[in-house]
């Protein structure tokens, strides 16, 4: 009697019961979507100048651009973590007037065209910008058209990704752990550092990956705010775009490198990624 009941249950739990296949109305668009994502990447691989590739990739200009891209994206991610995690905590755990407005403003760069972001950065931090003027006058610091400018432009577009991701993780985390820490004598900062941060670490890591990927691919804000100087502000996406106009084979080679780097990062962080997102 019991075993029969168990058998029925086991059968019911089978993933594919008869007559429960995938409806064509869902399958067809799903496959089209998949093809749409994969075919361009495939084209990149198919049309790559494999014979000239070693020569293309040994040119120092490629390595300069790649190094610059990695350094700037990583620095921008670090900057985003330093200011973004506290900002996310503020949005998730405190209640202040105008919080929802602040939250909306934080997400604005997500939808703002990056070129507009670049223009805005110029107006703020440029030599005649409302902040940049004082930076220049008091400290002799000029940000536009420098490597630091690249980092700032990338941070501007990457930071919202990190904040939104970490805020979501914080909201899902049980705030009562912070209360338990408080009853044990922990200040809010200690509770954050020793309890909350370790608990949300996977979410922070996922947010950092998102921010890093966004920073690595940044084009519009960078070229507007930092220009396109090889070795100083010319990151991979800028190099690809420039190469496409006079040396398409080089553009494809550079694109392949970016693709390889992205795949490597995704594969390396896959476990973290799937656990947190």
């Amino acid at each position: 009697m019991t075993s029969t009941a168990q058998d029925t249950r086991r059968k019911a739990r089978r993933p594919r019961a008869p007559g429960r296949g995938v409806p064509p109305a869902l399958l067809a668009p799903a496959l089209i979507g998949l093809a749409f994502l994969l075919v361009p990447l495939l084209a990149l691989v198919v049309r790559a100048p494999w014979r000239d590739l070693p020569e293309q990739l040994t040119s120092p200009a490629v390595w300069d651009a790649l190094r610059l891209s990695l350094v700037c994206a990583t620095t921008a991610t670090a900057l985003s973590l330093v200011v973004g995690v506290p900002l996310a905590w503020l949005l998730a755990r405190t209640d202040f007037p105008g919080r929802s407005l602040v939250r909306a403003l934080v997400t604005l760069p997500l939808v703002l065209p990056p070129v507009v972001g670049g223009v805005a950065l110029l107006l703020a931090l440029g030599r005649n910008g409302i902040v940049g003027r004082w930076l220049d006058e008091w400290f002799g610091v000029t940000l536009p058209f420098t490597t630091a400018g690249v980092v700032l432009a990338e941070t501007f577009v990457a930071l919202p990704f990190l904040v939104i991701s970490v805020e979501g993780t914080l909201r899902a985390a049980d705030p009562r752990f912070e209360e338990a820490a408080a009853t044990l004598g922990a200040s809010r900062f200690t509770a954050f550092r020793r309890v909350t941060l370790p608990l949300i670490a996977p979410g922070v890591a996922a947010g950092a990956v998102l921010a890093w990927a966004r920073a690595l691919g940044e084009f519009g804000a960078t070229i507007t705010f930092a220009g396109n100087f090889p070795g100083r502000t010319q990151t991979m996406p800028l190099a690809v775009y420039l190469a496409l106009q006079n040396d398409p084979a080089a553009a494809i080679a550079l694109s392949l490198v970016l693709l390889a780097v992205s795949v490597a990062v995704l594969a390396g962080l896959r476990d973290r990624w799937t656990r947190a997102v």
Partner: protein, 352 residues
Amino acid sequence: MTRHPPSQGLDARLVVEHGSFRLDVALSAAPGDVVALLGPNGAGKTTALRALAGLAPLTDGHLRLDGADLARTPPESRPVGVVFQDYLLFPHLTALDNVAFGPRCRGAGRSEARARAAAWLERMGLAEHVGAKPKRLSGGQAQRVALARALATDPRLLLLDEPLAALDARTRLEVRAQLRRHLADFEAVAVLVTHDPLDAMVLADRLVVVERGRVVQEGAPADIARHPRTDYIAQLVGLNLYRGRADGHTVRLDAGPKVSTTEDLSGPAFVAFPPGAVTLYRDRPTGSSARNLWRCEVAGLESHGDQIRVELTGELPLAADLTAVAVAELGLHPGAPVWAAVKATQTHAYPA
């Protein structure tokens, strides 16, 4: 009864308002006391506990512990330890580091905090589990780690929120006995919140019954079990309870009928008797010595331990406990008319 605010121990009146709910309870306890806040779900017990811990702000009232005013003190600065209902052990820390967390935050060095934590865990019989993460601990072990964590800061007030609710019946028995021992050793004030009368009576010296944000009765467990003053408490301790007006050996119940009692009282009074004292008859008994006889109807039957509890409506709504044999012989079923009798010597009347 007026109680002078003790300079030692707890003296509080907790008023917390949120939305339409208002909690207003007065609590006082001397060092060494274990007080249980007992009440149904939603009565405000946990809110009272959170107010004591500083996690819910007081709307009004006062809170003094060993003479110090704590009403405006943030939770991290109160000498209060809390055992949360689901323990809230930090999942990324070992049992040892969970217990050492409090001493660390209160200024102890890393090795000193760990030594104190190890001593507490040893006292709880958890010496071999110091390195275990919370998810590797059983329910009973996690409960003891949570207790050790709360005690490791040497609190002057220990708060326990439904300390046994998360445990299964078997573990509960064992942990209840251990918890009782640890609470007996604790020299400061302990306040525990529970909806389980057994937990409250075993663990506490004094019960404070809270219903709808108010204290409805307080006193020693035995006294409350004998003299319940609300339907909720009567139900918890398993008594039929009625309110009425006494005149000599008779109490005229608000519900209508009269009850003969052995006590001689006058004025508002309660009458209580256990369901086991009720005898049921199919026909009106003749020559019965019981003067308390009511015409009733069976509303429902359910098993209750090795007895069957019969819910009756009619002249007087009441519960009666019968053996299965008696139920069968009487042919009881919902809707069946019966006569219910209770001897005066089995009732207990006390002033309301």
